[in-house]
Assembly symmetry: C2
Homo-oligomer: 138 residues x 2
């Protein structure tokens, strides 16, 4: 199994453990004549808070050698998908899922945190070993 | 010469022809502990309008197979560089330089134009054959 597929399965299971039903794998998105895909679509089924909330999750592994280059791509993709989602399915919130180890090494940087806030990027961090969601930000 | 180097030289000459002096090649940028580089720094020397204006130009060739994937990276890089430039050299305006042929094929798409406007991406388009700047947007 490719690393990409492995991370996909880990995040899928982690989101399910968190009380969400996976409704799309992948979630299809049309915009500007392009057929795009967000990795997962999910809906909250357990617990009163967030009940019925719909999300789409783009999964990033950040396994390449340049974290900052991968960040450029992830940020641009997030902004593009969010704009497309706003037109197609405005009740659905987009999240970028990144490994918690990468979050602690890279996203914790103040300059990167400022970029995340300025561009209102919603993040999920996941624990690869435990297959659990660690953090929803904000 | 690599295609990347060839496009770099074309844009450098095109900007010089437009009355700018190249002051940095590349323009060094520090942010969040990262040493980044924008392809060119330039200052307007000819003509009353824009005189003394300072710009930084990130050159994109969009030669890869997936234009939308390259767009994600270019958009994320532009937003990151702009945030860093605002801290380091707030009088300098960042431009993304793209081939005019690519602009007519890809950037003209209404969804992409909306993203460019929403994210206030300043664009230069360049003519590869003529080695001239075609368009400043906005």
């Amino acid at each position: 199994m490719s690393a990409k597929d492995r991370y996909h399965r880990i995040v899928r299971r982690a989101i399910e453990s968190d009380g969400w039903e996976i409704t799309h794998d992948p979630y299809p998105l049309q915009a500007g004549g392009y057929d795009l895909e967000i990795d997962l679509g999910a809906e909250k089924i357990i617990a009163a808070e967030r009940e019925g909330q719909k999300i789409a999750v783009e999964i990033k592994s950040f396994l390449g050698p340049s974290k900052i280059s991968e960040f450029y791509g992830a940020l641009g993709q997030f902004i593009t998908y969010r704009a497309a989602l706003k037109i197609q399915d405005s009740d659905r919130t987009l999240y970028l899922a990144v490994p918690n180890t990468l979050y602690e090494k890279f996203f914790i940087n103040l300059f990167i945190q400022d970029l995340i806030k300025q561009n209102q990027v919603d993040l999920i961090t996941y624990d690869i070993e435990q297959e659990k969601i660690d953090r929803w930000q904000p």
